[in-house]
Structure formats: structure tokens, C-alpha cells
Amino acid sequence: MSKNTSVHVSLEQAKLLVEYIETDQQDKADELIAEIQNPINTELFAEIGKLTRQLHDSLNNFQVDSRLSDLATGDIPDAKERLNFVIERTEEAANKTMDAVESIFPVVDSIQEQIGTVKPLWHKLMHNDLDIGEFKALCKDIDLLLKTTDKETNKIHSLMTDVLMAQDFQDITGQVIRKVIDLVREVEDNLINMLTAFGLSSEEEKPKYATKVGENLVEGPIMNSESRSDVVSDQDDVDDLLSSLGF
């Protein structure tokens, strides 16, 4: 039918038209005239038909591709669980570490306090300024200090081991996060494939990196502060900026 675009009316069409009119098929005759007058429409319809078929096939293919639905219904919820697990484990590790450190503080304080008690008499001893009574008192204080230090350093040692062991979260969470990164990569590949299937190039539009004030102001920790000019990279930058504002 597309051959008709260059010719207004073909002989075949004319014959067909006469035939329709002679056999009293007015509807078909009208249709034919419309078609002759407007051949573009038929082309358009043909094109729409083709696109519809493509779309239909594509959608069918997506349904067939069970990996995508697995990703959406299984892997992504699973990844959320994994990331929650990371939050829990890191929080647990932070608390374990702080538990240990907070119990070390008073231990260190008590040792320091006893050293403070010993110091004045010790100072006198070092300057040959100690009488026998004071010497006896000093010996007692030092004895107590040695006993305390002995006992408390053992305690500190075991608490430090707790701190050390609390760091095992890094290995476990590292593995979990790596799995989630693999999943993100797979989803990314699938999305790119989808874009390609619909004839959209993923290169066409680079994401606009800088977010504007108000729309997404809160961004959280910045991973790539070196390559960005809209963020500070450390406390010195903050201080410089604030002092430039008269702070």
C-alpha cells in the first residue's frame, strides 16, 4: 500500500472503486477514497502496529525473564535484610567496645589516684627528706599500689581483648556488603539492558551531580569530597568557611 504515496490513484484502485460502487458497497468505496487521499495514515497505522508488536514482545520477554522478578521479590528484600544485619552488627560492636572502654576508665582512674597518694612521700624519699614513720607509710602505700596495679592490669588486659574481639564485625559485614554490591551491579546491568531494549541510550544523559539547596539538602557522609567543590573535606575547611563568614 505504501507504493501509493507517489501515485495519487492507481488503476487497480480505480477499478476497485468502480467495482465497489457498482456492487453498491458504499462503505468500502468511502474507505478506499479515504485511503487514497491519505496514504500516510495507513503507513502510520502500520508503524503503530509494528511498535505495538514490539512492545508486546518486549513485555512478554520481561515476564519470561524470571531473574528480574526474582531480583524484585527475593534478592532485593534479602539485601535489605543483609544491610540491616550490618547496622545491627556494627552497632553491637560499637557498644561492646564502649562497654570495655567505659570499664577501663575507672580502673585507670583508681591507679592514677593511688599514684597520687604515693607521690608526695616518694618525692621526699628521692630528696632524702623522709623520716622513718613516713617511710613505713610509704612502704604501705607502695605495697597497695603494686597489688592494685597487678590486679587491675589483668583486668585491663582482658577488657582490651574484648575490644580486640569486637572488631570481628568488619570481616562479617565486609562479606555481606560485598554480596549487596554484587546485587546492585546485577540490577544495574538489567536496567541498562531494559533501556537498550527500549532503544534508549544510557549515555545520553549524565546524571546531574550537584543537588540543589532545599531539594535534597541532607546528604549524609560524603564519599568523594576531593572531586567536589560544594563540600568541605575536613574540619579545617569548616573553620575557614566559618571564619570567612565572620565567625
Binding site: L217, G220, Q235, F247
Partner: protein, 123 residues
């Protein structure tokens, strides 16, 4: 001196509490976001606020503005300790009347210096 530490992560509140305790602040309360902090501030006579920016519910910047807008609270110095590092945010906090701005990760030394500076200015 009564201090309120506002952060949605309990571990960060614990770290800041420990550091503040080391610096001699012993009367410390905690809140997990601005909307829990504000009624606490209105009820109690707090002398100092340390707040995060990004929290669910009411954010730190809004808490700061609410404090400055309330005649009874507006005198309270506010120190922001946050991972938010955009220049416009720092400017925004300064314009809202923040007394100090610390970006995470930070050190005990930084906290100490900023506190000294804040209280030195207040006299």
C-alpha cells in the same frame, strides 16, 4: 552545667557523652531527634545543646531554628556535630545562629577546642 546531646544513633550519643564527661560535663541528657529534644529543652534548664543534623523526625537545623525562635531558649549555645559537609549547609547553620560546627568523623581534641571557643566567647 546541664547538657543535652541529640543524635539518632545511640552509639554516637554514647561517644559524645563519654567525651563530654572527660571534659568535666557530668549532667548530660539524651534525645534521639529534634522533636524529642525540644520539649525536654522547654521543661528543663539546659545550658548547652550538642546536636546532629540528619535525624528522622525533626532535623538538627530545624531544632536550632526552633531554639533561636523561642525567647526562653534562644540564649542556649548550640554545637552541631554532623556528617553533613556541604558548604551551603554550614552557611545555613551559621545563618540560623549555630555556635559551633563539627564535621564527623571528629576527634576528642576538636570537640575540646570548639567547646573552649564557645564558652570563651560567651564569657
Amino acid at each position: 552545667m546541664k547538657v543535652l546531646v541529640v543524635d539518632d544513633f545511640s552509639t554516637m550519643r554514647r561517644i559524645i557523652k563519654n567525651l563530654l564527661r572527660d571534659l568535666g560535663f557530668t549532667n548530660i541528657s539524651e534525645a534521639d531527634d529534634g522533636s524529642t529534644a525540644l520539649p525536654m529543652l522547654k521543661d528543663g534548664s539546659f545550658d548547652f545543646v550538642v546536636t546532629d543534623w540528619n535525624m528522622p523526625g525533626m532535623q538538627g537545623i530545624d531544632l536550632l531554628r526552633a531554639i533561636r525562635a523561642d525567647a526562653k531558649l534562644s540564649h542556649i549555645p548550640v554545637l552541631m556535630v554532623t556528617a553533613e559537609a556541604k558548604k551551603e549547609q554550614i552557611v545555613m547553620a551559621a545563618q540560623a545562629g549555630v555556635n559551633g560546627y563539627i564535621v564527623k568523623p571528629f576527634t576528642a581534641g576538636t570537640l575540646n577546642t570548639k567547646l573552649d571557643k564557645i564558652f570563651e566567647r560567651l564569657g
